[in-house]
């Protein structure tokens, strides 16, 4: 099948293998598609989804208590019996989801004012500086930020020093709210940027129209801005929620509590892969549902 050729006035470009290939591909959109998708799909399916499958298979395999060896293809539901049988796994799941939701809410509340200021009030130069200022903490190593918070929160740390004139003790390193605080801190920039992007996209004319029609700031916010921000909010929340859901380093370092991530990590560190794999199903299911809902709300375009 030959392609519709160029107009006869111009000279035909030199024939080449690339050109011949292009001509062959032209019109074969299915093939083009397959070629384009082959590599990325293969990667994601084989490397990522394949590993997930291997992991989840482990959830059904038996493990010898003494030697610690996992026997492949010896099917058993022992890991699931452990997960469903012991109350503690439910407690941990509820605790983690609650904190993840709290962190998301906190970040949304903290992010909105600064995002609004950046999007609608700041001059372009200030906006650029603020954006850099907001993104910079992301480059500070995650672990080091957590350790910095440890020094702030510990018994003889910064916070204790600040509060001591008032006779209040520092929080120490074993309270659960520490995890909420530090997680909110860590993911805040991930919430600021999508909200900022979302606010920027709202045409100024809409807000002016709203105030021309007599709406006060609160009403404009509630009825105009918020609904338009939903995709951005959900996009930001994907990160704050999922990052908090699976984190194990923060609860380990600034609190004494165990979260979902701790159970998975601890079990894998002890060689108990079946239980770790079985428990992993929980955050996987939660996030898949969350992602479906997010897609519905249009968050994928705001990522």
């Amino acid at each position: 099948m030959t392609a519709p050729g160029p107009s006869t006035e111009t000279a035909a470009p030199p024939a080449s293998r690339g050109r011949a290939l292009a001509r062959w591909l032209y019109g074969r959109s299915r093939t083009q598609l397959r070629l384009l998708l082959a590599a990325p799909l293969a990667w994601i399916v084989l490397v990522y989804l394949g590993s997930l499958v291997v992991l989840l298979l482990n959830a059904f395999w038996a493990k010898d208590a003494f030697t610690g060896n996992v026997a492949p293809f010896q099917w058993t539901l022992a890991a699931f019996e452990e997960i469903f049988g012991q109350e503690v796994y439910r407690t941990i799941a509820v605790r983690t989801v609650t904190i993840a939701l709290l962190v998301t809410l906190t970040d949304a509340l903290l992010a909105f004012p600064i995002a609004y200021y950046m999007a609608r009030i700041a001059s372009p130069r200030t906006r650029g500086i603020l954006l850099i200022a907001v993104l910079m903490p992301l480059w500070a190593a995650y672990l080091v930020k957590i350790y910095a918070w440890r020094t702030i929160l510990q018994g003889n740390g910064f916070l204790a020093w600040v509060l001591s004139p008032f006779g209040i003790h520092g929080p120490g390193l074993s309270s659960q709210p520490n995890a909420w605080l530090v997680l909110s801190y860590l993911w805040l920039p991930y919430m600021i940027v999508p909200i900022y992007a979302g606010l920027e996209r709202i045409p100024g004319s809409l807000l002016e129209a709203s105030s021309d029609l007599g709406a006060k700031a609160g009403v404009t916010f509630r009825r105009v801005i918020l609904p338009l921000l939903v995709p951005a909010l959900v996009a930001g929340s994907i990160f704050t929620f999922s990052l908090s859901l699976g984190d194990y380093i923060v609860p380990n370092l600034v609190s004494n509590a165990k979260f979902i991530g701790n159970v998975i990590y601890d079990n894998s560190a002890l060689g108990n892969v079946p239980v770790a794999a079985a428990y992993s199903l929980l955050p996987i299911v939660i996030m898949v549902i969350y992602l479906f809902a997010a897609r519905r709300l249009g968050a994928f375009e705001s990522l």
Binding site: G18, A140, Y147, A197, L207, F239, V273, E301
Partner: protein, 266 residues
Amino acid sequence: MVESSWVRIGLRIVSGLVLAFLYLPLVILAIYAFNESRLMAWPPPGLTLHWFGDAAANPDIRAAFLNSIVAATAATSIALVLGTLASLAVQRYEFFGRDAIAFMLVLPIALPGVITGIALQTTFKTIGLNFGLMTIIVGHATFCVVVAYNNVVARLRRLPRTPEEASSDLGADTWVTFRRITMPGMRTALLSGALLAFALSFDEIIVTLFTAGAGTQTIPIWIFTAIQRPTELPVVNVVALVLVLLSVVPVYFAQRIGGEAASIAR
């Protein structure tokens, strides 16, 4: 602007407070980089520059830094290629399962890192792969793809098709059109995607811990092991401070290139 001045002042104050919140730990970190004592108590008993010397002399830090750069560059390159291919496919064609692609690509980032890490580790062990820089790169590339994909797809959505159509009307074949029309249009999206992917890979710790194996260290892994040794804590602070300061450069460039808000898909 429609906001009353009260609202504007209020927003300015709150923004300032939020920025202070964001930077408090970094400031404390910076101060500790000069802390005389090994234990991180507040206030620090004295200040010294001597940890900077220790950090500069430490061969492990240099090796880890190099590994991080190599891994991030490789992962970013792979992610750019795969992400661009995928976004071209999704943006330009209609096919069954199109929505599923975006979904699948976002999974490595949306699912907790500990799960991705343990899944990759278990699989590599089962296959019998040797852990090292290669396995790190594989892990990083997997979740960096979506970053590249999102940036390119967003740009493709906004690029008009007419120049491409004109180009092929004038006799250019697919490759020429791509190289001379599409690519330049995508360039800034590719760059901001690359910067984000690089940042992501450079700072990644959780998946890397599972995929690095015994002999290889990236900077986050070095920090992780050093933090566990009470003697190395001040050097860790120095390394972190230097990383933050160094990072001003790419972030600044990301902003210049990004123009309007860069999507921060992490």
